[in-house]
């Protein structure tokens, strides 16, 4: 079989001692920066770019890719331990992961995240190896109208994310949408809600909002429990998931992997939806949906698998079309161009060693990460026994460094502080920040794609129903809306809420 000989070639390249070392360096660095809140892979890879000039292209790309998925692993660690999402994909992990940590179950949560990610990484790597070219064709089928309808579906599903009142969830989504409006209008170039502040011209940064609303707000809220607890939690029951846990996570991991792999292929923000989508899906289908938001292990397993699968499959549009699906991928293109490699479909045929070597290294990198991270869990847990008076100031310092490094501008730190206050107000009002974040991410994407689709159709709204993919999403959204709106079902829903609160 051709695929086997290709993979053999790939592993031959990736297993050479030097490339193996580069892969290890990459995942180590990635884990490290993932654990430091806010210091993201973008800044790190940018700083390392000049070093890669003198490496051979394969080693350079293997290392950079290692940083990328290493950061995905590390990012969930802070999300679970201290409620700090470093990137969009770990926002969802905060919801249940942090609750688990508070109940002294940080160990199982971290292990679930690592194992789920590893499984997802293996499957997604296989998908990239076997189906990259045909899947790239699928990615090209997604135009503005398809993206818009996908976002509508995501937003409708977002209401399910909330576990408080429906009204509050909708209010938070709308607040998120409005915050997403800040910045330069794509079509006309007009500045909206920037109030003459140049830093707002490109909109509000996602990391700034997420770190403020989740991490900072949590710290402020915890200060209220004066003197009750010196340390985060002293009752750490066990490090490893129980048999019961394993029984509960295998199905969510499978579903998360599948959904994440599918959404990761879409270059226009599909991967953003992966973890949100997987969480929503789990909450709908799980027997334990009442536990979601209060430390359900499924709520960690599904989004973590989805986000890692998405991270791997997002290499498909990069390697086959030369289209980056996020800022890290854009940097990878830069790194390839510096090496004189034109990213695109010819990479696979002209440089099979590079293509297959990278794919093989992805799997090896995932293996290294899981081997690296499982023993580290004990260490991370110890971190929770650090007294608040030391832990919190250190977290704040790292958050500020991380947010500052986004664009080397102190303004972002001030903005994060403002969102911390807003987050605290939301905690007091018992409004969930997750729907706000989703609205904030989806709003601008939706608007952009809606207006582009309308421009392309010369103002004909029927275009959303004429394209089959787009029409399917819209029909599913309508069905979901009807389900939410139907009185008897809503009643049942409210009963569920009563149980939850």
């Amino acid at each position: 079989m051709e695929i086997l000989s290709n993979l053999a070639l790939g592993f031959g390249v990736a297993l050479s001692p030097f490339n193996l070392l580069m892969c290890l360096v990459g995942v180590l660095l990635g884990t490290l920066i993932g654990v430091l809140p806010g210091v993201g892979p973008v800044a790190t890879i940018a700083m390392l770019l000049p070093i890669t000039f003198n490496l051979n292209p394969i080693a350079a790309l293997i290392m950079l890719a290692g940083i990328y998925y290493g950061a995905q692993y590390g990012g969930s660690t802070t999300a679970i331990l201290v409620n700090l999402p470093g990137e969009s994909s770990s926002v969802v992990t905060c919801l249940d992961g942090y609750q688990m940590a508070r109940q002294g179950r940080a160990g199982p949560a971290l292990a679930t995240a690592a194992l789920g990610s590893f499984f997802a990484g293996c499957v997604a790597t296989l998908i990239v190896a076997m189906f990259a070219p045909p899947l790239a064709e699928v990615a090209l089928k997604f135009g503005p109208s398809e993206y818009f309808s996908l976002m509508v579906l995501g937003l409708v599903a977002a209401v399910v994310l909330a576990h408080g009142s429906l009204i509050k969830a909708i209010a938070m989504v709308i607040l998120g949408l409005m915050l997403g409006l800040v910045g330069t209008d794509v079509n006309s170039g007009v500045l909206r809600f920037a109030f003459g502040i140049a830093e707002l011209a490109d909109g509000i940064g996602f990391v700034t909002v997420a770190m403020g609303m989740f991490g900072l707000a949590e710290i402020i809220a915890n200060l209220e429990h004066k003197g009750t607890r010196e340390v985060f939690t002293s009752k750490v029951k066990h490090l490893w998931p129980t048999k019961e846990d394993f029984k509960r996570i295998w199905a969510p991991v499978l579903r998360g992997t599948f959904l994440g792999s599918a959404l990761g292929i879409l270059p226009g923000g599909g991967a953003l939806l992966a973890s949100f989508g997987a969480y929503t899906l789990e909450k709908k289908v799980s027997k334990n949906s009442a536990e979601f938001g209060k430390g359900a292990i499924e709520g960690v397993a599904a989004p973590e698998s989805a986000n890692n699968a998405g991270a791997q499959t997002s290499f498909i549009p990069l390697l086959t079309l030369g289209i980056p699906s996020n800022a890290v991928m854009a940097l990878m293109i830069g790194a390839m161009m510096i090496q004189g490699i034109a990213p695109g479909p010819q990479v696979m045929t002209e440089r099979p060693q590079l293509f297959w070597g990278m794919i093989a290294s992805m799997w090896l990198g995932n293996l290294m990460l899981v081997v690296l991270n499982l023993p580290l869990i004990g260490l991370w847990i110890k971190l929770l026994t650090v007294p608040y008076r030391i832990l919190y100031p250190s977290i704040l310092v790292f958050m500020c460094i991380g947010v500052f490094s986004l664009s080397n501008n102190p303004f972002d730190c001030v903005l994060m502080a403002a969102f911390g206050l807003l987050g605290y107000i939301c905690v007091k009002l018992e409004c969930e920040p997750a729907p706000l974040i989703l609205g904030f991410i989806l709003g601008p994407l939706m608007e952009e794609n809606l207006r582009r689709a309308m421009l392309l159709s010369r103002g004909d709204p029927l275009v959303f129903f004429q394209k089959p993919i787009s029409a399917t999403f819209l029909v599913v959204s309508i069905i979901l809306l009807v389900i939410i709106a139907l009185p008897n079902i809503r009643k049942k829903r409210e009963e569920v809420f009563v149980e939850e609160t």
């Binding site: 973008v42 890879i45 135009g143 006309s188 011209a201 289209i323 830069g334 161009m337 392309l456 010369r458």
Partner: protein
Amino acid sequence: MRGLRIGQRLAAAALLALATLPAHGQAWPAKPVRVVVPYPPGGPVDISARLLAPKLQEALGQPFVVENKPGAGGNIGADFVAKSAPDGYTIGMGAIATHAINPALMANVPYDPIKDFRHLALVVQVPNVLIVNTELPVKSVPELIAYAKARPGRLDFASGSTGSTGHLAGELFKQMTGTFMVHIPYKGAPAAVADLLAGRVHLMFDNLSSALPNVKSGHVRALAVTTLKRSASLPDLPTLDESGLKGFDMTTWWGLMGPAGMSPDVVQRLSAAILNGMDAPDVKERLRAMGMEGSAVRTPEQFTAFVDAERRLYAKLVKQSGAKPD
């Protein structure tokens, strides 16, 4: 300092000069130099800065640290350089957007692209290239014009953003050919290229660096470059000027600049080091692989004149194109 007498002014100036001088009276550079890139990491401007930095360090003996300060179309980074102390320890990349287009396009650009800067050396010039989807039945510029004229308002041209060179090149093309096509702006050129590959938009004027891979692999068809001279990367590709659009000349460019008021000695040394770095064979080779070319503009004075000419050109173009929002 309007109220001070000459003597006091001189004293103040001397004090200021002393304060900016490094300890032990060492000559510049006595500490690392910051190179501000007003865009996010990974883009062509950032890459060229990072390619150049080690060469400058080699020549001048201090580290040159690249620092990205993105935002507001590059204005935040450019403004940071303009407002920095002119001591030679902060320089930055200025580009066609920050120094020619934005001042014409945006309402309140907080700096003057000529007066607030000391232009050091033009680093890179990249042609834009007119590319079309391969399904579009046109093989040359005249064929495209005829095709577009037969279908007024039916063709779409994409660009990375409103007011980008890609957008303005499209508007200039429409004016010069009397065609009517619809502008579809995107958030960044890669998203636009994705839709061009899929055939949802028909053509775009893309930066040669980013278009090169897809042109070479045959996934898009290149019709012409937007410069007066053909590109060394695609020598068989005609220019728009050759194809009947006389005088069509647009280049994307960027170069290093410092704040106004830098000492002539520092300017001279920086400028020489930059040009030497650009001429180094390994830098040249890597830039060429990305479709970037060095420039005939070789002195700081020529560079200032070049920026001024570009600024005037785009002030006119932006006005004619109606790209300005307010």
